[in-house]
């Protein structure tokens, strides 16, 4: 596939993520921050976000495994995940965090477990799509490098 076609495919793929609600306009802001001085910025931010998100989701899972759940501790993790999801433009994940926040406020452990399941699903979907996005970006960079 040639460079122009790859770039179009990347643009369309990102657009599809917007249309599905997986990403919102905040991700466009992040893409706009990538330039010649920060050529790998999008990949770095996605990697950073995914590492943090997985750590937090594991911590939430662990907290909910206790018989007596520390809901205030849970709150701070949910807050962190919601914040980073918002900041990277992970729209559906951000909305799923709101569900967990509400269940946590109500001290509803069962509700929290259901909300965590949704968060995990949304995160896995997002991660798969991010992996595909980065695969495309790397292919583009490789082609551009080979053409120089």
């Amino acid at each position: 596939m040639d460079l122009a076609a790859l770039k179009t495919q990347l643009k369309n793929f990102v657009q599809s993520m917007f249309e599905e609600g997986v990403l919102d306009n905040q991700f466009s802001q992040i893409q706009a921050l990538q330039d010649s001085t920060n050529p790998n910025f999008v990949e770095e931010v996605i990697t950073l976000f995914c590492n943090d998100a997985e750590r937090i989701i594991n911590e939430i899972n662990r907290n909910l495994g206790y018989q007596n759940v520390d809901f205030s501790n849970l709150d701070s993790y949910v807050h962190q995940l919601k914040g980073s999801s918002s900041s990277i433009g992970a729209n559906r994940l951000k909305l799923a965090c709101a569900n967990l926040r509400q269940a946590s406020d109500e001290r509803n452990k069962e509700g929290c477990l259901q909300a965590l399941q949704l968060i995990t699903c949304e995160y896995c979907l997002l991660r798969r799509k991010f992996q595909a996005l980065l695969h495309l970006e790397r292919s583009i960079v490789e082609l551009e490098t080979n053409q120089k």
Partner: protein, 156 residues
């Protein structure tokens, strides 16, 4: 699992025009901000948020420093370092954002403080404003909120 790619439609000319306009707006503002060398402190316990907020500020020519907890933010201000702008989250490790904000204001610091947080309730908004932030922003921090504030600081 190997990534799979969906087929796509043609990209729109509107996208190209919007991207060009955004770059042009940012360039104009960078010229303004650079003349005044604004500085900002970003206080956020989440690495992704802190990195993004710092880079957004830097893209407008603002020099930034970041800390990941409220205690370090208070200590930095107490050491005499001055900023034009402080961006602070509400929920922070060690010392929370509300208390950190109060302590910073109690030191007589009058710079612009933005409370940028994932919290979205009215009671949280009121609490953060009462603690001393000038503006409450629900994450994400975006140019629509930031640019008017930077213009205001640049004009002072």
């Amino acid at each position: 699992m190997a990534p799979t790619l969906p087929s796509g439609d043609q990209a729109s000319d509107q996208d190209n025009w919007d991207n060009g306009r955004l770059a042009h707006k940012r360039q104009l503002l960078t010229e303004i901000v650079l003349r005044n060398r604004l500085t900002a402190l970003v206080v956020d316990g989440d690495t992704t948020c802190r990195v993004l907020e710092q880079l957004l500020l830097r893209s407008y020519g603002v020099q930034t420093q970041g800390v990941d907890n409220g205690r370090d933010a208070v200590a930095l201000i107490a050491s005499g370092v001055k900023f034009n702008l402080i961006i602070i989250d509400m929920i922070l490790p060690v010392l929370n954002g509300l208390e950190a904000t109060r302590q910073i204001r109690d030191m007589g610091v009058h710079c612009k403080m933005l409370g940028v947080t994932a919290c979205s309730g009215e009671s949280e908004r009121q609490a953060f404003l009462a603690a001393g932030v000038d503006v409450f922003i629900e994450k994400p921090l975006d140019p629509e909120h930031l640019v008017p504030i930077l213009r205001e600081l640049d004009g002072q």
